[in-house]
Amino acid sequence: MLAYAVKRIGLGLLILVLVMIAMYAAVFLVPGDPATVALGPRATPELKRLLIERMGLDQPVWWQIVEFFRNALTGNLGYDVWSNRPVSTLVLEALPNTLILGLTALTVALLIGVPLGCLSVMRRGTTADTIIGVLSVGVIAVPSFVVAIYSLLLFAVTLRWLPAIGAGEAGDIVSQAKALIMPAAAIALGWIGYIARMVRASMMEVMGEPHIRTARSFGLPEWKIVSKYALRIAIIPTISLVAVGLGSILSSAVFVEAVFARPGIGKLITDAVNTRNYPVVMGTVLIMTAIYVSITIAADLLIARLDPRVRDVFRG
């Protein structure tokens, strides 16, 4: 198990390096140098030279990448081109909002999606199963920004129940929670459907396995068979799906944060890209990739924890 964990973490670090190299490559493949794009066509050569020096763009690319990682190891992710604030500070300020948003959405989606999937299996072939199926596919099909805009119109503008923008007053839990409801729901809705379908599909497969017949032959109640004997196996593909999907949750957070003008990583990236603030883009992408990679590793380790057969494969 330990060797497996070390191997996975090593692979994760490699992914991190490759992503950053790709990011640098992307910046230099885009036509025009970043300084010109940032300052506009009418900037004086003097100003341009200053900016290029400050961004380190006069150095060879490989040197820039090495420098970036050397600094990153000491916690220095570079400085905002315009405000000169450390990127690490900007990211740390924005990160909690996005993490709370993503994790709330994911938790809600799991808490509703998994029981819905189980219910579908227990009532397979009935009207309840059909309704859950149709609703699931329906909510998967609706993009989260559409949900965001319409819920904004309904609950904030027409009904005035919930705040339209922001992340709530600092220090006021109730206000923060209220501000969280709509953005989280906008992201979670599609995932509820996704998870319900996924759990249903893998659960149906598991329910046909002989060990379920054994559990039935001992007269175990159906709810216990579904929730203990089938779910522990059927949840495994869902864990992988959710871990991979977290990337898409974070990217839908970019849209949702834009719609609700909610401070967070998504908004930080959008703003930085718009103002060609490369150090901020690089630093944020590095942090997001690191989060994404860690979650994937955590999911793999969780699967190994849940399935003793996987555990044994990696033990040997």
């Binding site: 396995e209 002989p210 060990h211 017949r213 054994t214 559990a215 039935r216 032959s217 001992f218 007269g219 175990l220 109640p221 216990k224 203990k228 004997y229 522990r232 196996i233 849940l306 399935d307 003793p308 057969r309 044994d312």
Partner: protein
């Protein structure tokens, strides 16, 4: 609790998009406490459908006619809830394939604790103590450690012992072993048969053993029912069936058992022909198309059940008492 079991005029059909498959037709069997009953026949003859019906585990598309009286209760007429209450309490099943019979992600101990769920009077620690004792009884050394093992950490033979232990833990009045040795190699098979023989000495309920292996049946059972194409064609004491078989099918089956050959043969004997299509069962004898003793009435008239002795009977036109 122990009681007698009697299936009378039991028929099971499966509703499929291609029409109904009559998997079991007009089956009469009976079993009394302390008896070991064997059910033998080739693949597809309805053995599994019969025991699945007895254990109330038929799939949703199965339709059942006739009655299964157990201890005075008609199992065929019980609602799903009461059927479930009997399973794992009065009726226990040992399945065919020990490799897939247990949940792969839960420990043996965890599953065997759950399987005793009808015993509300016992705490978890007591249930675990019973498991340890029972695993010891079925010949598993180091029972305490084995309880914390996952199924894939045990060999096939060991898993079948665990399956038998699981069934015995529920103190069933009716223990059904559906092809208990089919998935095992010969050495394991001998060990499991030995174990079942030992267990029957201090067990006073009914044991039903299903097998297509005549040797298993001969070693374990008191009485045997021979099935063909969904019908019981002959039934009687083990001695009568193995030494005085009267139905042409039973005789052909015995003639094909390699264990009974005295010298090496170039070709193994077989029964020519194949099973009838069970979506349209024949109106006469089901075995007539393959029978070398068939004559005029066999094709059109259903054969009578001929009583040959108190317990020996055969369903055949050609048999006379």
């Amino acid at each position: 609790m122990t009681g007698s079991l009697a299936a009378s005029n039991l028929s099971v059909r499966y509703e499929t998009p291609h029409g109904a498959v009559h998997a079991l037709r007009h089956v009469d069997i009976e079993a009394h406490p302390g008896e070991v009953i064997g059910i033998v026949g080739e693949s597809g003859c309805g053995k599994s459908t019969l025991v699945t019906a007895l254990a109330n585990l038929l799939p949703a598309n199965a339709r059942i006619d006739g009655s299964i009286s157990y201890n005075g209760v008609d199992l065929a007429k019980l609602d799903a809830h009461h059927q479930r209450l009997l399973r794992g309490d009065e009726i226990a099943l040992v399945g065919q394939d020990p490799m897939t019979a247990f949940n792969p992600v839960l420990t043996i101990g965890d599953q065997l604790v759950d399987f005793q769920h009808h015993r509300k009077d016992l705490g978890r620690a007591q249930k675990r103590a019973r498991i340890a004792a029972m695993l010891g009884r079925v010949g598993i050394a180091d029972a305490e450690r084995r309880m914390n093992s996952y199924p894939h950490e045990l060999s096939g033979g060991m898993r079948q012992r665990v399956a038998i232990a699981a069934a015995l833990l529920t103190d069933p009045g009716l223990l059904i072993a559906d092809e208990p040795t089919t998935a095992l190699d010969v050495t394991m098979e001998a060990q499991i048969i030995h174990l079942l023989r030992e267990l029957r000495r201090d067990y006073n309920g009914i044991i039903i053993v299903v097998s297509h292996h005549l040797g298993v049946i001969a070693e374990l059972c008191d009485r045997v029912y021979v099935m063909y194409a969904g019908e019981v064609v002959e039934g009687g004491e083990v001695d009568a069936i193995f030494h005085d078989a009267r139905h042409p099918y039973t005789q052909a089956l015995l003639a094909c058992d390699p264990a009974r050959f005295h010298e090496k043969l170039d070709r193994l004997p077989t029964i020519p022909g194949s099973l009838p299509n069970l979506t349209q069962p024949p109106s006469g004898c089901v075995y007539a198309p393959r029978c070398d003793r068939a004559f005029a009435p066999c094709v059109s008239v259903a054969p009578p059940l001929v009583k040959l002795s108190v317990s020996h009977m055969a369903r055949c036109h050609a048999v006379t008492p």
